[in-house]
Symmetry: C2
Subunit: 383 residues, 2 copies
C-alpha cells in the first residue's frame, strides 16, 4: 500500500529527482509541497479548494489534535480523513517539534517528555509509544517518529544528547507502531553538526524505515547553512526512500533543497502569510496593506490561474484587509497555496532536463532577491 519510485532523476549527476509516492489514500507526485492543517483544517479553506490548488497531501499536527479534540475522539468520528473531510493522503507529525517549541517543558528524560499544555496548563506526558499510539488513532497515511528537536542555538553536547535520544526513540516508535498501512518515517536530527547528522542518519538507516525526514532545520540558521547541511546529509539517505524536509520553506529554500534530493516539504508560509495580507508572486511578495494597491484593478499576479486572480482585484483584496473582512485572509491564503503548488509543478517539469536557469528566470523570488526582501520572518507572525 506504500510505495516510492523515482521516475525521473536529474540528468548529469545532479541530485534532484521526480518520483511517485503511493499511499492508501492516493499517489503524490514528488517533489511535493504539503499544506499544513494544524488543528484539523487548512485555515479558512475548504478541502476541495486545497485539492484544486494542486495539493495531493496535507499535514495535521499531532500535538494540537491530541489536546483538542483528542485522538480517540477523532478515531470515533471515523479517523482524521473523515473528520477533516479530506480523502487524499495525510501526514501527521509526531508532536515532538511542538512539545519542544510551544509547551512549557517540565522534564525531559530518556523515557519521554512531561510538559504543561499551552492550552489548559495540565501536565501531559509524551513518549515514543504514546506519540505513535496517538498517530495510530488519527490514522494518517504517513506518520512520524517522536524525536527531540533541539533549539537552533543548541551547542554540540546538547545536540549530541538529542541525537542519541532521537535514535533510541525511533526504535521504540517502530516497536510501538500497530497499523501497518501507515508508513512510519524516521527523523534525522543533528543541528548544524555534520558528524552528528551523519551518525544519526547511519543509525536510523540501519533500522530500515520506509522514509526519512530531516528535522531541526529552518530554526533560525541562515539559508546558506541549511543548504550546506542538506548538501552533505541528503545524498547519504537511501535513494529509494522518500526524503522529507520538515517545516520548510521559502521558495528559494525549496529550490535549493530539491536540488540536493529532497522530495517532500511542509510549511505554514502560504496560509500564514496569506492571513497577514502577504501574497506570493513569481517576482516577490506583495504586502497588500500598502496604500499603493488601493486603486489597482489588476489581479494579485498577472497570468496566475488561481480562482482569486481570475476574479478579484488587488484593490478589492486590500479593502477586505482594511475592513477586517474574513474573506481577505481566505482569498490570499488560497492564492498562496496555488502559488506554492505551481512552483512545485514547475520544478517537477524542469527536473528531467535539470534546467535550473529557466526555473530561476521564471521565479525570481527563488533566486535570492525576492522573498528575502520582505522582512517577514516566522517569528513576527502568528499561527
Amino acid at each position: 500500500m506504500f510505495n516510492f519510485t523515482v521516475t525521473d532523476p536529474e540528468p548529469g549527476g545532479g541530485q534532484a529527482r521526480c518520483g511517485m509516492l503511493t499511499t492508501p489514500h492516493g499517489t503524490i507526485r514528488t517533489p511535493a509541497f504539503v499544506p499544513v492543517g494544524t488543528k484539523g483544517s487548512i485555515k479558512g479553506l475548504w478541502p476541495e479548494q486545497v485539492r484544486d490548488s494542486g495539493a495531493e497531501i496535507i499535514l495535521a499536527n499531532t500535538y494540537h489534535l491530541c489536546q483538542r479534540p483528542g485522538a480517540e475522539l477523532i478515531e470515533q468520528l471515523g479517523g482524521l480523513h473523515t473528520f477533516m473531510g479530506w480523502d487524499g493522503p495525510i501526514l501527521t507529525d509526531s508532536g515532538g517539534y511542538q512539545v519542544f517549541s510551544l509547551a512549557e517543558l517540565n522534564k525531559i528524560t530518556d523515557e519521554g517528555v512531561t510538559f504543561r499544555s499551552h492550552m489548559d496548563g495540565q501536565y501531559v506526558h509524551l513518549d515514543p509509544a504514546s506519540a505513535i499510539e496517538i498517530q495510530n488513532h488519527l490514522g494518517a497515511d504517513i506518520i512520524m517518529a517522536f524525536d527531540q528537536c533541539p533549539p537552533g542555538h543548541a551547542d554540540r553536547s546538547e545536540v549530541t544528547r538529542a541525537v542519541e535520544r532521537t535514535v533510541r526513540w525511533a526504535q521504540k516508535c517502530r516497536e510501538a507502531h500497530r497499523r501497518s498501512e501507515q508508513a512510519l518515517f524516521a527523523i534525522v536530527q543533528g543541528g548544524v553538526f555534520h558528524e552528528l547528522r551523519q551518525a544519526c542518519a547511519r543509525q536510523l538507516i540501519a533500522m530500515d524505515f520506509p522514509g526519512y525526514a530531516v528535522g531541526g532545520l529552518s530554526v533560525g540558521e541562515p539559508h546558506e547553512q541549511m543548504v550546506e547541511v542538506l548538501t552533505e546529509l541528503v545524498p547519504t539517505l537511501p535513494a529509494d526512500r522518500p526524503r522529507y524536509l520538515m517545516g520548510v520553506g521559502k521558495p528559494r529554500d525549496l529550490l535549493a533543497a530539491v536540488r540536493v534530493g529532497i522530495d517532500l516539504f511542509d510549511c505554514v508560509l502560504p496560509t500564514r502569510h496569506g492571513r497577514n495580507a502577504c501574497a506570493f508572486t513569481a517576482t516577490g511578495t506583495l504586502k497588500l496593506r500598502n496604500e499603493k494597491y488601493r486603486r489597482q484593478s489588476g489581479p494579485l499576479e498577472p497570468g496566475c490561474p488561481c480562482p482569486v486572480c481570475q476574479k478579484f482585484s488587488r484593490g478589492y483584496l486590500r479593502h477586505l484587509f482594511g475592513v477586517r473582512e474574513m474573506l481577505g485572509p481566505i482569498l490570499v491564503s488560497l492564492h498562496n497555496l496555488w502559488f506554492f503548488q505551481r512552483f512545485m509543478a514547475r520544478l517537477r517539469d524542469l527536473i528531467p532536463s535539470g534546467d535550473w536557469a529557466t526555473m530561476r528566470a521564471e521565479f525570481p523570488i527563488a533566486g535570492g532577491t525576492g522573498i528575502g526582501n520582505d522582512n517577514m520572518d516566522r517569528g513576527g507572525l502568528c499561527e
Copy 2:
C-alpha cells in the same frame, strides 16, 4: 430593464404572491431572501458559494462602503458588481439606517444628517442627494431612498417628524437620481402607528416608485406587533410593485410577512448566527458550542443538501469553534444561507396552493416554537 410580475398569487383571497423581479443583472424569484454583504463581502464566503446556496440577489451597505473604501473608488474599480465579484443583482441601502443606529449623530435637520463616523471620528454629512449620488457611484440594480429611521421606542411626535422627513427626502432622492438603469425604491416609515404608516405610504405611492420598502420594523418590537403593522400596511402598497421588508428576519417573521404580501427580505441572521456557532435547522437552532455535539458524527441537519452537511460532522464543526478555526464560521454561515434559501424556495412552492399547514409542518422553527427558544437576539451578537 426593471420589471416586476406577480406570477402566482395565493388562492382564496390570501395576500401572498410569487413573482419575478427582473433587473439589469438578472431575474429574482420572489419571495426572496437577500444575504447581506455589509462591507463588500458576505462574510467568509465566496460569491460562487453564495450563488450556489440559491441566492439570486445580495445587499451591500452604503454607509459602510462610502466610509471605506469610498464609492468613487469602487466606481473606478469597475463598480460594485466587479469589485465584489458578484455578477447577479445587487441592492444597496441608503445609509439611513446605519446613520441613525451606528453613528454618533451631530445634527439632524430637514436638509440631512451630520454625524461623526464610527470609523475615524470625522464629521460626515449625508442627505438625500448625496445618498443617491453615492449609490449611483456604486451601481447596484436596486437602490434605496434616504430615510429617517426612528428608534423602536420613539413616541408619536418623533415618528411623525421622521415620516415627514422621509417623504420629503424621497422626493429629493427622485430628483437627484441620475442612472435610470437603477431602480429607486421608497421606504415607508411610521413605527407602530398605523395612521402614520398609511400617511407615509399614501404620499410615497403618489410619487410612483418602482418598489416600496417597509423600514423601521424588527427594531425591538414583539413579533405580533410587527405582523399587525404589516397586516394593515402591506395591502395598501401597489400590488404590481415589489414590496421589501428591510432587516427581517427570523423564519417565523419571514413566513408571516410573506403571508401578508412581502416579496423581499434582507437579514444578517444566517451569517451572524453562523459566525457565532449557531446553526439553523427546520426544527430549531443548534448551538454548536454545546458539549452534547462533541461526539456526534451526523450532519448539522439530516437531509440538508448543502455542501457542509454533505461532508462535515457536528463533532468536527464543534471542534473548529472550540479551537477558533476560521473554517467553523465559514461552514456554518454557508449552511445557514442554504437553510434560508431552502426555506424561501419551499415558501414559493407552497404559495400557489396556499398550503401553510405543510409549511409549518416541514419547518417547526417557523411555527413560533423554534428560533424563539434560542434566546439569541440581534443585540447580543456582533457584526
